[in-house]
Amino acid sequence: MAAIELRGVVKRFGPITAVDGLDLDVPEGICLGLLGPNGAGKSTTMRLLTGQALPDAGELRALGHELPGDAKAARAEMGVVPQLDNLDVDVTVEDNLAVFARLYRVPDVGAAVDRALDLARLRDRRRDAVDELSGGMRRRLLLARGLVHEPKLILLDEPTVGLDPQIRTELWTLIDDLRSRGTTILMSTHYIEEAERLADEVAVMTQGKIISRGKPSELIAEHAGRETAEIYAPPDRLAEARLTAEAVGLRVRPAGPAIAIVGSERANGEAVPADAVIRAASLEDVFVLLTGEEAE
């Protein structure tokens, strides 16, 4: 049985359709990265799964529970790590965890708090108020709070958005540890590297729909080929190189100050300038080609 099953799910906010006929299966025991630009419908999908948003159409099941009717029972078995830090900042680390252990009806609150403190590596800070913690510690605590009841399914909504690279790496280590223990994870992100490093499978989402899904290597092979040629040059030369590549059927995307010719291994010598930097095709190439958005 899939941990998450969505069929034809639609969610509208007035004239805006945030989720547009979404079909999504997440098998048990995998980490699925929901990769999409801002406004793609990722966070709305997460809220639909917790019953905090009600669908206008479609069928949703999480851990065998029909949603939204049985959302409360589903939430008891899932953990949610939100995009925004909503810890109680004046309260101690352990009290933050104890409150959620009670909300999740954990029988032994003390043991659950100790386990979560170990996971977040915050045992020696347990009696400190949250506002005395560093940004990285707070994110670890937020993650541990969502895991205090040892859920079968974890929803990570942009878990490292806005964090500096060092804290992001810390969080990735923790998430990777969960993945290796077989916990089912649905992780929304718009960071390519995050999806590449953590997800067993990636679903690219834009305008409320999944437009492609597979293992990162499969997506790259399918949409971007083997190699990408990056050209760094003045704007007029970039425009000329783009025209030349597109004339022979190659796909070109912007890459900051450069352009990237995707699938450049298929080109003859003239379509790829000699001074182009050749690199392996990446998930970023796939993301930009499919969504038309610049990657972060």
Partner: protein
Amino acid sequence: MSEERTRLRRLEPAAIGGVMSREAANFRTYWKGTTFSSVLEPVVYLLAFGLGLSATLIDDVDGLPYVEFVGTGMVATAVIFSSALPAMFGTFVKHRFQNTYDAILAAPVDVEELVSAEMLWIGVRAGIYGCVPLIVTMFFGLNPAPGMLLVPLFCFVTALGFAGFGIAMAAIVAKIDQFNYVTALFVTPLFLVSGAFFPIEGLPEGLEIAAQLNPLHQLVELVRGGAFGYEAIDLVRFASLVAFAFVMWRIAVNRMEKRLID
């Protein structure tokens, strides 16, 4: 996923207790300031009204020394200010600024349980703090009476109603400064025409009838009943406060469901 599943029902004590434990954990960080102001305020009021007004302008009201009249009436003002205002501002801040409710509703807690827990917590707090003016008035000459033992219950039930009112207002307003309208249009008139500071019998007829519908007036009369002797009509007064709390609870749940669930 084959093991037996926990059955989750409406209004589960575990969910309500969990939300209240969050409030208690936060309260431990600010109880000193709240307690200080709730004790100091009635002392200042009683010094001003009791030793000021009663010494110069008013000797007694309805046969009661003015200090005792105001002291028993101030229970109602303590209740509305420790229930309606914290409910309005607290709910708004937790929802819009701190995203606290997003976190709680991601756990197995529904909006009805969340609102019920918030109302109960405010009710308990206001039930306790509402008694402070009564205790302070004893130092100004009010004699203790057995009927006063019911005052915490009256304060609790009234505070439940005003907590529901405050939560509903927090769900309705778009911006925090719109609470100025709520305070000016509802809270201040309710506490001024509650009979806490002067008897409502002296008001123009229409206003007196309106004041009779004021839950705070019913509380004032019940507290005075506790201090100076109950009457049969006090049962009706208490029943009206219970009805007020129930109606406000349903309105608060309804408004918060609309606000919190997309």
